[in-house]
Structures are given as structure tokens and as C-alpha cells.
């Protein structure tokens, strides 16, 4: 049961990761307010479809490491669709995850090859953190282009030649008191986020590195989340990526979720 939950959480994480990971380039502008910069990050165009292969390295406070490899298919349409297949390690190989998001309602399914069955998953499992990783869902929604300005108010703290430095305050209850975001001016791409607790202590740092332009899309090849409190870290590497590929709607169905 826990393994199923773990797989679901990992899968759900990557769905959100897809949203935050592929912002396209945009022209820079002068004299923008924090809220305007946040809006630009939010509204930046993203790829309609993407297929990629990811390897994730999870380190605990002792430096021990676990590794997972997955393949992701994502399609941005009236219904936002994602299909994730686990490739490694062997104990989770063949497991599949399907997400269909229509407005604010999301349907999620998990395929477990050992049981030969598809399970519909409760939406509450997106609460909290991703088991075995240093990410929480809230960490990701801070960067999500989907609901930025709805959920956070932004203040421009400072800027230099290359970066804007924003302070994000959540509008509702949140596990962090606030976050600081560093945004590249030229492409409106967030490169670093710091998360602070209720006592203003830094507890986590997320960084986007190895940023490349691939088929008109900016892409961070490496995303890290460091838990300063625990001393643990999760690093994701994008091994293969393909933007704008034709992905049939039939791919994002329970039928194809069952198939290897």
C-alpha cells in the first residue's frame, strides 16, 4: 500500500514538474512590479506536448542514494493530460500513472502490474510531501505557472543586471511563511527559490540549473531541492526530451495505462 502511495506521489510530482519546467523565452521589460513579474512567469508560453525521460536521485542525510527513472508524456489541451511510466528500479518497473485535469478537478489513476489492475486515486494524496523526496506539492505550486497570482502576492525586493529577486507571500494558509524567488530577466525563468518557516528560518532551497533552449523552449536539465533542516537532497536530471511531438489523445486513457 505504501509503495503504491509512493509511486502515486512521485507520479503526481512529475505532473506538476511538467508545468513548472518548460517556460518559453520572453522579452524582458523595465520597471515591472513584483506582481507583474510573477504574472509574466505565470503566463509564459509552454510547450503543448512534451515527452521526456527523467532520472531522479534521492539522498538522505547520511548521503545514501536511491534512483528512479521514469518516462513522461504530457499534453496541454482543454483537459490537461499526463501519462507516466516507471522504468527503474525493477520493483516498480511497469507501474503507470495517468492524470486528467479539467479546470480544478483532477482524476488520477495508478496501474500496478503485479495486481493487473487500475486504481482510482484520492485527490488528497497530493497533500504533503512526496514520499522519499524533498519536494512537497506546495513547493511546486510556488513555481507553478497555473495558479501563481491566485495564490501568492509578489513583492520586488531588488534587481540587478541579470535577475529579479521576489518575495512571495501566500494568500492562504501555507506550510511556509514566505518564499524568495530569483528570476532570470531575459527569459522570466525562476532559477532559485528559498522557503522560510514561521520563524523566518530558511528550511529549503530549490535550484534550476543547466538551463538550455531546446526547440524554442527553455528547459532546466537539473532541478534540485535541498532540505536545509534535514540535510537531505533530491536531484532530478532530464535525460531525453522532445517538445511538440504529436501525442494522440488515446495515449492518455486507462487502456494505454495498462499497456507496457
Amino acid at each position: 500500500m505504501l509503495k503504491h502511495k509512493f509511486l502515486f506521489n512521485i507520479s503526481r510530482f512529475f505532473v506538476i514538474f511538467l508545468i513548472i519546467g518548460f517556460f518559453a523565452g520572453s522579452t524582458s521589460a523595465a520597471n515591472l512590479t513584483g506582481q507583474e513579474i510573477l504574472k509574466k512567469v505565470e503566463t509564459a508560453r509552454r510547450a503543448k506536448t512534451v515527452e521526456l525521460k527523467n532520472t531522479m536521485f534521492i539522498y538522505n542525510e547520511s548521503g545514501d542514494k536511491r534512483e528512479r527513472t521514469i518516462r513522461i508524456y504530457h499534453k496541454q489541451a482543454e483537459i490537461e493530460k499526463s501519462l507516466i511510466k516507471f522504468l527503474a528500479p525493477a520493483d516498480v518497473e511497469g507501474t503507470g500513472f495517468l492524470s486528467l485535469k479539467n479546470n480544478q478537478k483532477e482524476e488520477m489513476y495508478l496501474y500496478l502490474p503485479a495486481l493487473g489492475t487500475i486504481k482510482k486515486i484520492s485527490g488528497s494524496q497530493k497533500n504533503g510531501s512526496f514520499v522519499g523526496t524533498d519536494f512537497s506539492y506546495n513547493d511546486l505550486t510556488v513555481l507553478s505557472g497555473a495558479n501563481y497570482t491566485d495564490n501568492y502576492s509578489a513583492e520586488l525586493l531588488e534587481e540587478d543586471k541579470e535577475y529579479y529577486f521576489l518575495k512571495l507571500d501566500p494568500k492562504d494558509d501555507y506550510e511556509y511563511k514566505f518564499a524568495k524567488m530569483q528570476v532570470r530577466k531575459d527569459i522570466f525563468y525562476p532559477v532559485k527559490i528559498e522557503f522560510y518557516d514561521q520563524s523566518d528560518n530558511l528550511i529549503k532551497i530549490m535550484t534550476h540549473a543547466n538551463i538550455e533552449k531546446i526547440a524554442s523552449n527553455w528547459l532546466a536539465r537539473k532541478i534540485s531541492m535541498e532540505n536545509v533542516e534535514k540535510g537531505s537532497k533530491t536531484v532530478m536530471m532530464i535525460d531525453e526530451v522532445s517538445f511538440g511531438k504529436s501525442l494522440a489523445d488515446e495515449l492518455f486513457t486507462t487502456r494505454y495505462l495498462r499497456r507496457n
Binding site: 502511495k5 525493477a90 495486481l115 488528497s124 504533503g128 537531505s232
Partner: protein, 388 residues
């Protein structure tokens, strides 16, 4: 190793050689080794099971695929006994064939129906291995033809035929010696068949209706005389079932909800219709604690057969990054008995896990011939699994 096992091994090797000869590059080979050790306090018994699964999978792309799961198991039931058993079997062996609208699966396969947690009234086809230390997690493959039709508006129609009846795998020690269990012949009249119609995305819910004709996997006494004379005879009664399964989220907080019910009508008029119903909720908190609660009712098939009413709670939570703990609590409302089963899941490395746990039982411990009786024993266990 008996002749049947040798034949099975021969066929498997033949298939392997054939596959290697023609499609070596596309063949996916994987497997798992598991070692399970259980100690039962009541009879001071130690059970030791080692299992090796070799899985061969071959995909034919959009046309289908082939899957073989060859399993060898060695089991020692008593620490001082001489009865170590070694078994070689194909736990699953099937061929997938995909057409435009229907996905077919032919061969030995595990079929799982139902959305509830571990107790699934509409899970008609795959029996359970009740000799396993944790029988809820151990399903047995059955020979079957399964077809799933994918229609418009996310409607799915699943049809299954299993030509032979397969009972739950039960330990010979399970029943008293005075009890004799009927065998079921592999004849056409014992064929099992079922159909399930599923509509997905119905206001956020998935709704399934199912119909099934076949034998109960839980045996029942043939006669209910006041002073029965041994040996008492039990049988697997034939019945027609109708089932319903609803699963989705409730409210803005997305609380997981499911309800699954089955009503069975028996061909033998000595038995009364039986209702099985399970309803549950699940929620994951921000601190990663996952909580599940479930209520289960199983009616008796005869006035002398006791109802079963359970409350089930399940919790799990990750710890130390790679590891986790979980706990199950079963409370028998009729017998005022509960069974608590905490467990630690320790990840040794990627693909290797050690599970340590125990079950304690408190209460009246009334005997119940249902399969839950297996759960109600004081025991401790250690599982090691390595996937490759």
C-alpha cells in the same frame, strides 16, 4: 520434483528457447527473490518460504505482447519437521492481443476487480493464497480469457471466462480432520463467467456494475443437521452474483471514498442469499500520514453461518527518507476481537526491501471459518525481497 513440474519446466524452457531464437533483442527479463519467515505463537510454528520469480515479457507494440512468470518456491512449514516442499509453477503465462476496440488476454492471469482496500466483494476471479503469511497480498493466477471493450464516453465493458474453478489455496491443517472438502471437476458446468460495465468520470466518480456466475471460494457445510456425524462435508456452492462498485472523491478536500457491494443468490436452496458490503474513506494529511478507514459486512449463507462485520483502519507514513511504517487494525464487531498489525518497511537499497512486523490478537477469538480467521493469529514475521 514430480512429473507435472518437469513437464512445466520443459514447456517453459521450450518457450524461452523459442523467444531467444527469434526476438532476443526485444525480450525483457526481470524477476524477484523473496524470503519470508513467520513465527506463529499459538502452535509454536515457524514457517519459512523462499520464492524466486523469473519474468519474461515480450511486447509486440500496438498488437499485443507475451508474459511469463515462472515461479519456484520452497517452503518449510515446521522447524522440526521433514516436510520441506519445493514447487515449480507458472504463476502467470498469457498472451495479449489488441484489436481496434478490444484488448484480449488469453492464458493464466491475475484478475483483480473492486476498489475497496483488501476486502473486495466483487473480486470474483483470482483466488488468494491463504497459506501465505500475509494472504491478502497473495493472489493466484487463473486460466482465463479476458476481453475489455473500450467504448465512447469512457465506458469500458470487461468480460471474463475461466473454464476451471480454482479455490483459495488452503493449508491442509486449516480444516479439522473430520471435515471433508468436495473437489470440483473441470467440466463445463463449473465454468465461471463474469461481466463488468464501468463508466469513468461520472461527476468525478467511477461506477461499475458487475454480474458473475460461478462458485464461492469460501466453502460451506453441505448439511446443517443438529448432530452432524463426521466426516462433515463442505463444498463450494454455485451462485449468481450482482455487484456494484463506486469510487471517487468527496468534498473540496478530496477525501477518497468508495463503496463496493455484492449480492449472491445460490442455486442450492439450502443456502440463503448473501450480501457483502464495504464502504471506506481515505485521506492524506500534509505531514504525509495516510489514513484509511473501512467498514465491511458479510452476511451468512445459512442461519448457522455467522455474519462477519469488521472495521478496518490502515495508516502509513514515510520515515527517514527511504523507509516507512504502516499499521492495520481489524476490529471484529460481532466477536469483539481485534487484530493489530504494525510493520516497518526498510529499504536496503534500490529494489531491495526488508519488512518486519507482527500481529497481536485480543478478544474472544471465536473461530470463524471465513478466510479472515487466518489473520487472527498472534505472529511475527520478516520479509526480504530483492527485485532485479
Amino acid at each position: 520434483m514430480n512429473n507435472k513440474n518437469i513437464l512445466l519446466l520443459g514447456i517453459t524452457l521450450l518457450v524461452l528457447v523459442s523467444i531467444f531464437s527469434f526476438q532476443v533483442k526485444a525480450l525483457d527479463i526481470s524477476g524477484q527473490f523473496s524470503s519470508r519467515l513467520g513465527y506463529y505463537e499459538q502452535n509454536n510454528q515457524l514457517v519459512d518460504r523462499e520464492r524466486l520469480n523469473l519474468i519474461l515479457a515480450e511486447s509486440f507494440g500496438l498488437k499485443g505482447g507475451l508474459y511469463l512468470n515462472l515461479e519456484t518456491e520452497t517452503k518449510l512449514a515446521k522447524i522440526s519437521g521433514q516436510n520441506r516442499e519445493t514447487t515449480l509453477r507458472l504463476s502467470e503465462a498469457y498472451l495479449d492481443y489488441y484489436t481496434n476496440k478490444i484488448d484480449w488476454r488469453f492464458g493464466k492471469q491475475i484478475i483483480s476487480w473492486g476498489s475497496a482496500y483488501q476486502l473486495n466483494p466483487t473480486d470474483y476471479f483470482s483466488p488468494k493464497d491463504m497459506t501465505a503469511i500475509k494472504p491478502f497480498n497473495e493472489k493466484i493466477g487463473v486460466n482465463a480469457i479476458k476481453g475489455i471493450y473500450y467504448g465512447k464516453n469512457r465506458v469500458e465493458v470487461t468480460g471474463v471466462i475461466t473454464p476451471f474453478f480454482t479455490s483459495n489455496r488452503i493449508s491442509p491443517d486449516y480444516f479439522q480432520k473430520q471435515v471433508k472438502l468436495d473437489s470440483v471437476a473441470n467440466t463445463l458446468e463449473n465454468l465461471q463467467a463474469g461481466i463488468k460495465i464501468t463508466k469513468r468520470g461520472l461527476r468525478g466518480f467511477d461506477l461499475s456494475t458487475s454480474f458473475y456466475h460461478g462458485r464461492d471460494r469460501q466453502p460451506i457445510f453441505r448439511n446443517f443437521s443438529v448432530n452432524p456425524q463426521p466426516p462433515l462435508q463442505m463444498k463450494y456452492p454455485m451462485a449468481n452474483h450482482i455487484g456494484l462498485d463506486l469510487v471517487g472523491d468527496l468534498g473540496e478536500n478530496d477525501i477518497g471514498f468508495w463503496t463496493e457491494l455484492d449480492y449472491s443468490q445460490y442455486e442450492d436452496n439450502n443456502y440463503q442469499g448473501r450480501l457483502q458490503l464495504v464502504t471506506g474513506f481515505a485521506y492524506t494529511f500534509n505531514n504525509n500520514l495516510h489514513l484509511m478507514s473501512q467498514a465491511y459486512h458479510q452476511g451468512g449463507r445459512h442461519q448457522s453461518e455467522e455474519d462477519l462485520q469488521l472495521l478496518v483502519f490502515h495508516l502509513n507514513k514515510p520515515i527517514w527518507q527511504f523507509h516507512s511504517w504502516d499499521a492495520n487494525l481489524f476490529y471484529d464487531l460481532i466477536n469483539s476481537t481485534y487484530a493489530l498489525n504494525p510493520q516497518i518497511n526498510y529499504s536496503l537499497t534500490g529494489g531491495a526491501e526488508l519488512q518486519l512486523g507482527f500481529t497481536i490478537v485480543q478478544g474472544e477469538k471465536k473461530s470463524n471459518p471465513g478466510y479472515l480467521a487466518t489473520l487472527l493469529q498472534d505472529m511475527a514475521y520478516a520479509f526480504l525481497s530483492v527485485s532485479f
